[in-house]
Each structure stands twice: as structure tokens, then as C-alpha cells.
């Protein structure tokens, strides 16, 4: 294993789904159900059995819209406000209308959701205004249950192939180029439609621990979805709206207010005082968190030590076995106990992710990107705050639409020269006798991201970043060196990460205002609705560098009253007259 082999195979399918984490499997199931004759291939860099953010399970649905608790209109309004107004509501509204059906479907797969004594879903309030969090008592079964369905539906699964570039031709998508992560052999997949579900760009910033893989996101999500869309010419929206999360310091997993909040836990400063009204993650909330860390009242903590023993035991039961089960080991190693101490928190490295913020490949309410036949869903598609249920639901939309799209088209022709060029690019680090290993290229890129791109954003620093990234790119292109196929996978990831870093800098420079709280806090500029109440769309320009344009926010489906617009702007305890979290 890991020896570099020379090989190239080509296969044909109707629908290629890249990424078998959360959105991908649901897209595959829906496409196959809609068109049972279709040849559906689900391809993953890891093993679909245990891949993606939900590898070990999930604690709950963060954004469910359940009749009796919330309406699609309320949810659409809340997410629009939480995302500072920059939202094409059609996609959020369609999600809000149809996600309940997906919950019932997941239920039928054997994934249980918490119910009260009357057998009704036991939804919890965490958001600023509405009630949307639904716990999953057997959340550890989610991946296994999905996998069973994939086998039953006879989806063709290809593991351990990393997609590196999309193929296009005749003005639409034509397939993808993939590399085996254990042998470096190439697989060219021709497809009539391609659905991307490659997750967040989770290895963009460097965690404070310095450990490259100690990220919030599953570290196999290095951002190829973003880079592939970019190189294929698709539009990417609002990349400057970074993902930054409040996490357990060093461990870098969720704290997790969504579990502990409804049971009475909260985020506190060093004095044990609550300073934010609402623990739901938003840019505005992160700004308050940052201010507290900087302002002398930090560090910031997760406070549970005021709770009754049985409550703490229940929180432990959830947090220590499902989503990030090593969390118990971590606290044990540190000698911290929720009953006795508060738990130190910190802010995460930056990333791109629409699951938690709004930086993603531009899609409409059918999960269509700007390239015909190419879809995106989940963390990498720009439906704001779409989390796990958004990945499932938008993945379903993509699968259903793609099944219709392929009925009328044949495979698009593409230029074989693109495959040759990609082979040359990919294999370059294997052709040298020595040089710079990928981990050093990656470390340097990510350290520069932290130094110069992390908010508060400063123009001069971002310009320095751009200059330094170019130097790293020269080093990478002329001198990166790998010894086996595994290292080659890391080399390809390093190049993706550099692409994403350059996009992050360019997008942040373009929007000359501040918006989304900490996510795009540009210290030299105030918020500017007159000029910047719009999406920014980044594409690959003629010169091979990022190009930008403004795009209007589509007219709202659900109107928002003037006095509701700023509900998320007043997060600090005591600052607002708006609704408190609990």
C-alpha cells in the first residue's frame, strides 16, 4: 500500500456524487429513487461508512422546523436576520418547508429523535427568537443507518478516491478527475450530472494547538469542493463570511451550548457571568465572544458547575459518547470536571462553511450551481446556517433535480488535454528527488492565514498575506516533494488549502464594509447597506486570479419588519430590549 503506481481508468455514470458524508448519501438515495434506472456513483476520499462530519454521530438537529414549534416563515425570518439580511430566501424557505419530511424519513431509517411524554418531538429553544433544536438520543447510529440505506438502494460506492478537478465541456459539467489516495492511480469519471457534497474548507486556519489535524471540522474536509468549483468556473458566494466557532480550548470541539443550553448551561466570562443573551452561533455572537476574550474579563468558559448532579450526568452522557467521543478523555486528562470547574473556551480557526455561516458555492433552491448539471449541497453550498438537516435536505433537492436533468442529456464532450494537464500537475511532487514536504507547505499557508486573515481584518495585513501566499505557491509549484501516495494526497490538499486561502483574502478585500459581526469585521470600514447590501460572487478570472462581482439579494419571500432586522445585533446581556434566550 501507498506505493505510487502509474494508471488511468475511465468509467461512465449518469450521476456522480462526490463526498459521501451527509449531503452526498441523501442525494444518492433520492436520485436513485426518482430514477431507478440511473447509474449513480457515490465517491469519497475516505470510507463512506465512517466519513464526514457525522462520522461518529451527531447530538441533534440544530435547525429543524417542526409543525407546532415553528413555521417555515418564522425560520426563514430568523436565518435572514442571523445572516445580516444577505440571503436569497427561496432556498432557506424551501428547506424550511420540506425538512420535516426528511426528519420523518430519517426516523424511518431507525434514527430516533427525542420525544416528550405525549410522543411529540421534544424541540428545544437555543436560537435568539424561535425553537428549532431537536436532540437525537441515538445519534451515534446515523452513519450506520445511512450506509444500510445506500446498500439497499444498490448505490455504487467508490472509497479512497480523492476528486481533484471537475471536467466541463459544451458549457456544462462533464465529470471529474480523481486520484486513488493509496496508489496515486487516476480515475476519470464521465457523468451527465455531478453533485458535490465535499463539506467545509476545514483546514484553512491553524488551530491554536498548532496540530494540523486538530480542527473543528473533520480534517478530511480540506476544501476541494471550493477549489474544484473555482477552477471549473462556478461562482462562489460571500466567502468573506468566514466560519468561526466558540469551542472548548485546545480540544477544539463544540462546547456545546446546543446540548447544555436547554439544560441550563451557558457561556460565561472569568467571573462566571453570562455576557451573551443567546448561545446560538452567529457572527454577532462571536464578536461579543471575541470582545470578552480581549477585554480583560476573559477567558471565556462553558459554565455547568451550578447544575444539579443528574443534569450534569445527562450532559456528560450526551457529550462524551456521541459526536466527539474523545471529549471525555480530554477532560479526564486535564483533570477538569463539569461539576467543579468551568471549562475554558476559545474561538476556532477560520474556515469556509455554510453549514455554520454562509460562505459557499453559489446555489439556488434546487441546489444548482452556476454551471449546468453541477450541483452542490451541505456545508460547501451557500444556503446559510444549514447544518446537518440542511445537508440532508438540500442533498435531497440536488439528487431529485439531477435525476430529471440527466433524462434529456448525454455525456458532454471534454478536452482530454485537461486530463493530461491535471496528471502533470498532480504527479509533479512525485517526480523530484527531494524538496519541501506537503506538511510544511500546509503549515506555512495556515500560519499565514492566522497571522493575516483572521478577523479583525486589516487591509495592509491582507495585502501582505496575498504576497506571502504567492511565494508559498512558487515554492509549492517548483519544489513540493512526496515519497508515497498518502503524502501525495496531503500534497493535493496543501494546494487546495492555498487556493482557499487566496480566495479568502481576495473575497475579504473586495467587500469594503463590515458585516456579520466578527466573521467580516473590517476595522477600517463600517457596515454600509447602501453599497453592500448584496452578495459577492467570486469566480476564476481570465488571468487565473479571483474576479468579483456584486449580485442583488433576491426580493424576500418573507418580509422582515424594520424593528426585527437588528435582533441579532444586540447580543450583549443588558444591551437590548429584544427577546432573551431563556
Amino acid at each position: 500500500m501507498d506505493e505510487i503506481l502509474d494508471g488511468l481508468t475511465q468509467i461512465d455514470c449518469d450521476i456522480l456524487i462526490i463526498g459521501g458524508g451527509t449531503a452526498g448519501p441523501m442525494a444518492a438515495l433520492k436520485a436513485k429513487r426518482k430514477n431507478p434506472e440511473a447509474n449513480v456513483v457515490l465517491l469519497d476520499k475516505a470510507n463512506v461508512k465512517r466519513s464526514g462530519a457525522i462520522s461518529m454521530g451527531m447530538d441533534g438537529l440544530n435547525n429543524s422546523v417542526i409543525p407546532g414549534y415553528a413555521t417555515p416563515e418564522q425560520y426563514t425570518k430568523e436565518i435572514t436576520i442571523a445572516n445580516d439580511g444577505i440571503c436569497d430566501q427561496a432556498a432557506v424557505y424551501r428547506y424550511a418547508q420540506e425538512c420535516y419530511g426528511i426528519i420523518q424519513e430519517l426516523d424511518s431509517f431507525g434514527i430516533r429523535f427525542q420525544k416528550d411524554q405525549n410522543g411529540e418531538y421534544d424541540v428545544k429553544k437555543v436560537h435568539h427568537i424561535g425553537t428549532y433544536v431537536l436532540p437525537m438520543p441515538n445519534g451515534d447510529t446515523v452513519k450506520k443507518a445511512l450506509y444500510r440505506q445506500l446498500r439497499k438502494a444498490r448505490i455504487n460506492i467508490i472509497n479512497r478516491f480523492m476528486a481533484t478537478r471537475l471536467l466541463t465541456g459544451e458549457g456544462r459539467v462533464a465529470g471529474a478527475i480523481c486520484v486513488n489516495t493509496r496508489s496515486a492511480e487516476f480515475l476519470v469519471v464521465r457523468a451527465k450530472a455531478v453533485i458535490m457534497g465535499l463539506g467545509a474548507a476545514g483546514r484553512l486556519g491553524l488551530p491554536t494547538s498548532g496540530y494540523l489535524y486538530g480542527t473543528y471540522e473533520n480534517a478530511s474536509n480540506s476544501g476541494e469542493g471550493y477549489a474544484m468549483a473555482y477552477h471549473a468556473g462556478a461562482g462562489l458566494a460571500n466567502l468573506e463570511c468566514y466560519q468561526i466557532n466558540p469551542l472548548i480550548k485546545d480540544y477544539n470541539g463544540p462546547a456545546c451550548a446546543y446540548v447544555a443550553g436547554p439544560m441550563g448551561g451557558y457561556t460565561a466570562n472569568a467571573q462566571g457571568e453570562r455576557f451573551i443573551e443567546c448561545d446560538y452561533w452567529s457572527g454577532q455572537m462571536m464578536q461579543e465572544f471575541y470582545d470578552e476574550l480581549q477585554g480583560g474579563k476573559g477567558p471565556v468558559y462553558l459554565k455547568l458547575n451550578h447544575l444539579a448532579e443528574e443534569t450534569v450526568a445527562e450532559i456528560e452522557r450526551v457529550l462524551h459518547i456521541v459526536e466527539r467521543p474523545t471529549r471525555g478523555h480530554f477532560h479526564e486528562g486535564r483533570g477538569t470536571d463539569y461539576r467543579k470547574q468551568m471549562i475554558e473556551m476559545h474561538i476556532s480557526e477560520i474556515g469556509f462553511c455554510s453549514g455554520h455561516s454562509a460562505s459557499g458555492v453559489f446555489v439556488d433552491e434546487h441546489a444548482r450551481t452556476t454551471i449546468p448539471g453541477l450541483y452542490a449541497a451541505g456545508d460547501m453550498a451557500n444556503v446559510p446556517h444549514n447544518y446537518m438537516l440542511g445537508a440532508f435536505t438540500n442533498g435531497a433537492f440536488a439528487g431529485m433535480d439531477a435525476a430529471v436533468f440527466i433524462a434529456d442529456v448525454d455525456h458532454a464532450n471534454f478536452d482530454m488535454g485537461e486530463v493530461d494537464a491535471e496528471r502533470t500537475r498532480v504527479l509533479a511532487p512525485t517526480k523530484r528527488d527531494d524538496g519541501i514536504p506537503p506538511n510544511q507547505i500546509e503549515y506555512k499557508t495556515r500560519r499565514l492565514v492566522n497571522d493575516y486573515l483572521q478577523p479583525p481584518k486589516v487591509t495592509a495585513k491582507m495585502e501582505l498575506a496575498q504576497k506571502r501566499f504567492e511565494e508559498v505557491r512558487d515554492d509549492m509549484e517548483s519544489g513540493m516533494f512526496v515519497r508515497d501516495a498518502h503524502e501525495l494526497m496531503r500534497a493535493l490538499e496543501a494546494s487546495t488549502i492555498l487556493d482557499c486561502a487566496e480566495m479568502a483574502a481576495a473575497a475579504s478585500m473586495y467587500r469594503t464594509e463590515s458585516r456579520w459581526g466578527l466573521y467580516h469585521n473590517r476595522v477600517e470600514y463600517e457596515r454600509d447597506d447602501e453599497n453592500w447590501f448584496c452578495h459577492t460572487i467570486l469566480t476564476k478570472g481570465e488571468d487565473g486570479k479571483p474576479a468579483h462581482k456584486k449580485q442583488d439579494v433576491k426580493p424576500y419571500v418573507v418580509e422582515i419588519a424594520e424593528d426585527e432586522k437588528d435582533a441579532y445585533a444586540n447580543q450583549r446581556v443588558g444591551s437590548s430590549s429584544s427577546v432573551a434566550a431563556e
Binding site: N47, R50, G52, G210, Y211, A219, S220, T326, H329, H486
Partner: protein
């Protein structure tokens, strides 16, 4: 630019008395999302799984899915 041999301690440990890689098991290698585990032949000719690359998300499928409980996931030293 020759490469150095800098040592690093790895977070995942396999108890090779319990590991049944010899009987063909590769479960932990198969499930790891970061693909950092491999099977190696020991001096006594028997096979065992081990962590080959220090690139771990401390997520735990390797430990959870091992049929003989041979795998222990510790926190990487840098963030422990």
C-alpha cells in the same frame, strides 16, 4: 534539501496481543477518515495494525469498530 528524521509521538495505540490483523482483519485501516493506520509485520512474523501517519482527528471510528478492542485513541500531545 534532504529530509530530517524528526520524531513525533502518535495518539493512537494498538495492543498487538489483541489485534487479529494476522487473521485478515483490516477494519480500523478501512474506516479511518484520515487514512493514517496501516498493517505491519512484526519481528515475530505476526501482523498488527499501527498508526503510520501522525494526522489524527481523534474521532474514534478505529476504536469503536475494532472487533477485539485492541485500539485506544489518546489525544494528540499538542492539544492534550
Amino acid at each position: 534539501m534532504p529530509l530530517a528524521q524528526t520524531a513525533t509521538t502518535v495518539p493512537v495505540v494498538v495492543n498487538d496481543d489483541l489485534c487479529i490483523a494476522d487473521k485478515g482483519c483490516t477494519v480500523c485501516v478501512d474506516v479511518c477518515p484520515l487514512d493514517v493506520l496501516r498493517i505491519v509485520e512484526k519481528e515475530d512474523g505476526k501482523k498488527t495494525a499501527y498508526m503510520k501517519y501522525d494526522e489524527c482527528w481523534y474521532c474514534m471510528p478505529c476504536e469503536a469498530d475494532c472487533p477485539t478492542d485492541a485500539v485506544t485513541v489518546n489525544l494528540p500531545y499538542l492539544l492534550k
